[in-house]
Symmetry: C2
Subunit: 679 residues, 2 copies
């Protein structure tokens, strides 16, 4: 053992130097800018003074070296033995501890790395049981981030600065952020990343860009992360001037084959393609009278020999008169069973588009003969950008309450990561990145447990802080739903962006299903979208039991009431309030809740470094003002139809409808969108 240990140490230290060189350093917590995320600070001096015994027998891969380095840096307990065993290769691992030592065992290098991060997580969030034996295996094989990053550095729906990928500097210059990004993902089990926007530039498949992609893949590989690309279905035309992109056309197929060969020549472990086809103006097989299946299968067959996959998005809707909530179903359900075995149909959690709250997308219960994956949105496109504190784990949990874990084969999450110092714009938006990773590893983890882990690693273990702030996080999604779109309301956002309220937004020569009025349908009789059998009958897409439940105004869960029904203003809710009064009370509840969050956070000042305390405090002020803005805008506008008074016991509006309707909030990718809201 001694010999090996000795060897090990040598490797670690040499290896350490290289890593240190590229890893951001954090010293005092006094001014924490949040760049460290939830990860242990890398501290060379400490490492030198006290080095725990880490031993490993066998070939030292980069991955193993990273594991050893992480333990060297942060482990404060018994000696550790890393051991690779024979058996089916998985990302899983076993940790068994005794007084004398701890053993991490896996059949793969990355399994040992995951075990390492898990052990450190346990250490940093509590006490490591002296005689524990933990076995972890990820529930989902594919745990993927989707970056909506454009090649020009902008990020669609990104609110944390510019893209992490400096395409112009690649492949020669490698930002230290690439490794930090990989380390953060590995620490929570994410094992795949789609680098570019689903509205894909064909350029990404050019020889020039593929070299850049290769450079990133090389950095990510040791962390167990495979690279995927979003592709433009018309790439053969755009890149090589073919006259068609018809998936059944020989030249087209040939073109894709050559392209795929080239990619795998550069990136042997390339993951595959993500495709947004015939959606919101993107090209696709339907342009040539082919089905989504025919398009997806063409690519899938080419990727198969390399074990690559196709993730084919089901997010489609057309400017028809039919309920937008039904369109993905109508187009994809008939294709069930026609997709090739390495095609995954990627479906958003809800039938519309990442609204604050949606019922699950009925496709999940209607394509038993296809491989499905769910697409969550981590970036807060519809939840206050990076200004509002909204913890998303409860929202995702709500999805899994309707859709059994096994129904989906994989999870994708639209990333909220950018060039901001704290990565996500809002310090608490980091929790959504963290939670996404943890849920892809183990969807049965409770949001409380995940929040608890994240808070302890990111801020402090002090029970008073953890309990109070976890409480904020757990209530934050419901609060946002209440001050934005309670009782099943959806998509009543401002026209040019999805930040502020514009329930009145209406325009000529604009697709109906891009207008809030299309979604809330408020009139003198009531409010809500009738999707029952007397309306668009979208309820029919759900299994009978749910079709009954949702379709009947009496049994429909009130949180979905206005999603499925056009409800009279004076309709009696279960608590015996009228719908109008309940609507008013819900908005008010949302506002009061945010004020409560402010109170709790302000009390936390002694427990948090000044910088992050102030950052979060300032964001909560914006959220508090915005919540009132939402309440006033929606209630005063809907009141023009209900003609009913806002219950007098509630706080009165402080804005006039006229002011709010005349006020246009300008939004760009990077500017803080709230300047407008405050003054």
């Amino acid at each position: 053992m001694t010999k090996i240990k000795y060897l090990t140490i040598i490797v670690c230290l040499s290896n350490l130097m290289s890593l240190v060189a590229q890893t951001r350093m954090e010293s005092s917590l006094k001014e924490n800018d949040g760049s460290q995320l939830w990860l242990p600070t890398i501290n060379v001096s400490k490492m030198k003074e006290k080095t725990p015994q880490i031993s490993y027998q066998g070939k030292l891969s980069k991955t193993i070296s990273i594991a050893i380095f992480e333990l060297q840096n942060a482990w404060r307990g018994q000696p550790i033995i890393l051991e690779k065993t024979r058996g089916k290769k998985t990302d899983g691992f076993t940790i068994s501890s005794s007084e004398r030592q701890i053993q991490i065992v896996s059949t793969t290098d990355v399994g040992l790395l995951y075990g390492t991060y898990h052990l450190l997580r346990i250490q940093n969030t509590g006490i490591v049981d002296k005689n524990c034996s933990i076995t972890e295996t990820p529930f989902y094989e594919l745990r993927i981030l989707n970056h909506w990053d454009n090649l020009d550095g902008t990020i669609e729906r990104g609110y944390a600065g510019k893209s992490l990928w400096n395409w112009s500097d690649l492949p020669d210059t490698l930002s230290p952020h690439y490794k930090e990004y990989a380390r953060a993902n590995a620490s929570i089990g994410i094992n795949g990343t789609v680098l570019n926007n689903v509205n894909a530039s064909p350029e990404i498949l050019s020889d020039n860009y593929l070299k850049k992609v290769k450079a990133l893949a090389n950095i990510f590989r040791p962390y167990g992360i495979r690279v995927y690309l979003s592709v433009n279905f018309a790439s053969p035309i755009k890149l090589s001037g073919l006259h068609t992109a018809d998936p059944l056309n020989k030249e087209v197929i040939q073109w894709w084959k050559k392209k795929v060969d080239q990619i795998y020549d550069l990136i042997p472990d390339f993951g595959g393609f993500l495709v947004k086809a015939n959606s919101e103006g993107q090209p696709g097989p339907c342009d040539y009278g082919r089905t989504h299946a025919e398009g997806a299968n063409m690519l899938a067959k080419i990727l198969q020999p390399y074990h690559g996959i196709v993730m084919w998005r089901a997010f489609v809707y057309h400017a028809t008169n039919d309920d937008r909530a039904k369109q993905a179903y109508l187009e994809f359900q008939p294709l069930d069973g026609q997709f090739h075995k390495n095609v995954l149909v990627q479906i958003k959690n809800g039938p519309i588009d990442f609204q604050p709250r949606e019922p699950y997308n009925p496709l999940f219960s209607a394509m038993p003969n296809s491989q499905l994956m769910v697409e969550f949105q981590i970036t807060q496109e519809y939840l206050g950008f990076s200004n509002h504190l909204v913890y998303l784990a409860p929202l995702w949990k709500e999805f899994f309450a309707s859709v059994p874990f096994h129904t989906v084969k994989a999870i994708a999450g639209v990333a909220n990561i950018g060039s901001d110092k704290n990565w996500c714009g809002h310090h608490f938006a980091q929790a959504n990145w963290y939670a996404f990773g943890r849920i892809t590893w183990n969807p049965s983890l409770s949001p409380e447990k995940i929040a608890d882990e994240w808070l302890k690693q990111t801020f402090t273990n002090e029970p008073q802080f953890v309990t109070s702030v976890k409480n904020i996080m757990m209530q934050s999604h419901e609060a946002a739903v209440n001050y934005m779109m309670p009782l099943g309301l959806h998509h009543i956002f401002a026209g040019e962006h999805h930040y502020g309220p514009e329930p009145w937004y209406n325009m000529l020569n604009v697709r109906q299903d891009w207008l809030p009025v299309y979604y809330h349908k408020a009139d003198s009789a009531g409010i809500g979208f009738n999707r029952s059998s007397t309306g668009s009958n979208a309820t029919a897409h759900y299994p009978d039991s749910l079709c009954q439940l949702y379709g009947n105004i009496k049994t429909c869960p009130e949180k979905y009431l206005l999603w499925f029904h056009h409800v009279p203003w004076t309709y009696r809710m279960k608590n015996n309030r009228t719908l109008w009064d309940e609507l008013c009370n819900s908005y008010d509840k949302g506002v009061q809740k945010v004020r409560f969050f402010q109170q709790v956070w302000d009390k936390m000042e002694p427990h948090v470094d000044t910088r992050r305390f102030k950052d979060v405090q300032t964001k909560l002020k914006i959220q508090s003002r915005d919540a009132v803005w939402w309440k006033d805008a929606c209630l005063l506008y809907f009141q023009t139809f209900s003609r009913l008074p806002i219950p007098y016991e509630l706080e009165r509006p402080i804005h006039t409808l006229e002011d709010m309707m005349n006020f246009k909030l300008k939004i760009s990718n990077y500017e803080c969108p709230t300047a407008g809201f405050s003054k």
Copy 2:
């Protein structure tokens, strides 16, 4: 009688036509724009159908005709006899009623007019007792409005549009507003008006302008209103090129004599001069080494033969190092006894300048041998302009609680009247004009009684409305003090205007006593202006008993605490809160109170015409936002000194100090100043 009655009717009807022609008409209350003030609508058709018997024996003066016309128009009761009796001429009257008739008796025509308006007031605010005998005599002989109107149509500290006086059209074109203005003033007993700004343009004394003044005087005369002018002490130089304005200079005296002769030749009942001398850059006797008394007496002697008076303002302060609160006293107290008998020293209610709350100006108890008058401010220069609902009667009442009625010989009020359709900008600002008039007639009237009268005449008699809204009015001043400057804080307004908070406002090369920091003196030790014997010793200007009371931090009324003392942040208040906590609670109380006002007002919707309901509702929204702005600005700024947390049970700030400090609110005389505050 018949003959006379017949005659009377004829006169009335002819007279009526002329009046009607010049009187704004109001029909339905559906869209009441507030232009009618508290006065009965003039309704010719009604008058024609049912004419009450009004009889009067004797010469029909214009004044008497107006009285008869008003009764014709609005009286709905028994026949009325107007009777002039011999005796000392006063503005007083007696009303005695029986089943058969009502008699109004006075020694003067205007007395009968006042009696008429009083009788109508009783009718419109309740029931006229069948067998009552009311005798009313005004407590103050001079009941004067001061207009800070400039000849260019602007109004200094005016927030209700432009000046009422269309100088360019005068004397040939006479706006109907002139008569409406006179009628409104007569109805509440106001009998004098100073037409122009105390920062007086010499032009007002030019031959050209005096003809215009004469035209107005002619319109006001029948309503018992005398005209006064503010004069520039350097007029002899500015108008006629004299080399001096020294009050002891023969030419100067001669000049004034000729000017006064000219004025009385045009306006036989001209009231006299108002003078702002050696104050804020205005010229005055001190420029020539003469005292204020010498300056005032020179003019007084010239006016005396015409029974004219001089109102000499004591509002003076210099860029010295001595406490501004002491300066008027130091300059005027020594002159006690030196003023000529027709000079009135006009003193603002407080020692600084119309702050939301001030202790009384100690001059009132220090010049026993002079004739004093108090200057109130009706326009809300320091109380939210015409955006905030602040009923001022309680503030004036507070003054009289310290200064006995008899101490002052007259009352002046800086008008809040402009060209706005509703005269005062805010419908409820009309109540301050009304209350001022009523208090000058009878200072012992309670603010409740006055609010009650005004509400019933201006809106409705419905008890639910009157009770609820009176409650708002009665609490409104205390609320404003709380959200602006509680516990004796004063003058922490924005630099360029007096609307918003800028406690941090500081500038080089600016007079110290124009800077908020001079007044609040916040530092790490505490906050407040030490005016006790250990400080500026301004307390010594008060009578011994009060000097003791105010000078001792333990006995000083807490509403004046920071006015007289620099108090440690942790000082224990009577309720055992620390000063800091009490400060926070006071600001919060102010905010919550305005929200309460909003709730009450919204409930009043059924009782108020749509237009005024919406107008007031909108203003209350502004006030509500402003209150939060004040609270956040002051607490967050003062917190940088106290370094203490805002009590966590209180609602948290929603603005950042940085935002507020970087935000410059632009104010002009006419624009709604709050655009900036909302967005």
